[in-house]
Symmetry: C2
Subunit: 262 residues, 2 copies
């Protein structure tokens, strides 16, 4: 699938997704272009969530918010987010009730869509600098953990930060900090380096989400704020309805990763 | 006044302001600490305005939003923004109706306060680098201009960007870009360098707000996004009520300017 899409533009890939010709994960598609997490909420929760992202920019770096009732993004991509994402999850009162490949049939006039930056963007920058990204090497999902780091509450939304972990050779840690620190719109610099227990992670070998990866001799576990944080925080409030992308099934934007630096 | 307050902490200065012992401009007070612009709006406009700041982060870099109905900031300063600012302007349907030194008497349960970054912070960084800031040298207000650069609309809010202008010796322009570019939460890098007409400014010698300053031989007019933009955009919509700080009479925060870099 990756090979098939390598020469296509983001717009062309989104059209294939829209037609149902691509339904799988988007990892590795359209190298160089940012991919985004999706959260759809009804308007009555949108203000509190928008404020939550403002107060927690590290875990919730907002790339775009659609106009009230509109499924169309205008800035990061010329996209219809109700059909241009391969797979959606529908949650009612915090419970997963449906997995769909198109959400136009259930779209509501009071929906607002939030597009949130994704660590795919900074992983590309790390690899370009020769810094290994273990879960990519091992063909796994990045390991993610609940932490004791509180998010800043906003209205009904509150909870702790979720982090992703990448083992980094100790001599490469400063460069990994600098490279990701230059990209605040896709989570930015690590939130913690080295001691899982200091941020409330008791067992590194059992991630709360994703898969464990090998930590080699001479490597340090480095923790970045993770885009699962906003999804977790939303589900905690058990909203009547919320829709997200399915993990790994992202919106491929028209925005170059290099544009997320400033 | 500046001398009197030089050794005081931001908290101590805010208390003097709260008691009415300081009612003048805050320029130069508490060097090293960020000062912030204030906009207060009723809740029914708050979502659109919050979205406007998200879509226009260069002209509206949001430092904090208070909880619904609360005049207390919790993050950038331990402040009561209804009394800790020396002077307020009250606008009804877009018209200035009152200038007050305390707004508790007119505070409403549905008010939300927005604190927006201010170029005072990056001017300090320019001066520290030996780059002249002409309006400070000449004891004037910074010259500001309406431009033809459209802001990105959000709900009821739309309009063009207002910019501030500082003449910079041409050999110092790159450093001025780098230094301010490191501080995106206080407007960041310039939006334009050199040609006023290219951004719709016809007569540099007649600023739309503030005072003209001398442009010397070998200097280039450099334009930064300006915090007057959000005030202008709000007044265009003629809201029932809106409250702002009076020009130059800012909230002095507990946040060091250096903390606005990342």
């Amino acid at each position: 699938m990756q090979k098939m899409t390598e020469s296509l533009t983001p717009k062309e890939v989104r059209l294939k997704i829209r037609k149902g010709e691509i339904t799988g994960q988007t990892s590795g598609m359209c190298p160089g272009y940012a991919q985004a997490n999706l959260v759809v909420l009804p308007k009555d929760l949108a203000y509190d969530f928008l404020l939550f992202t403002q107060r927690n920019p590290r875990s919730c770096p907002l790339l775009e918010v659609t106009d009230l009732g509109s499924p169309y993004t205008k800035f990061i991509a010329d996209a219809d987010i109700a059909s241009d994402i391969p797979k959606y999850r529908v949650y009612k009162e915090g419970e997963l009730t449906d997995v769909l490949t198109d959400i136009h049939d259930i779209w509501q006039d009071d929906f607002v869509a939030f597009l949130i930056g994704c660590s795919f963007s900074f992983e590309e920058a790390l690899l370009e600098d020769g810094i290994p990204v273990r879960h990519i090497e091992e063909g796994r999902n990045v390991p993610m953990y609940n932490t004791s780091i509180p998010c800043t509450s906003a209205g009904v939304f509150h909870g702790n930060m979720v982090v992703s972990m990448r083992p980094i050779p100790h001599e490469m840690v400063p460069r990994a900090v600098l490279i990701t620190g230059e990209m605040p719109r896709v989570h930015g610099a690590p939130v913690h380096i080295g001691d899982p227990e200091a941020i409330g992670i008791r067992d590194l070998s059992h991630p709360d989400y994703g898969d464990m990866v090998t930590i080699k001799e001479g490597e340090v576990p480095v923790f970045w704020p993770c885009g699962v944080t906003p999804q977790n925080v939303i589900m905690n409030t058990k909203p009547d309805i919320a829709i997200t992308h399915a993990p790994g099934h992202m919106l491929i934007t028209d925005t170059l990763n290099t544009r997320l630096k400033y």
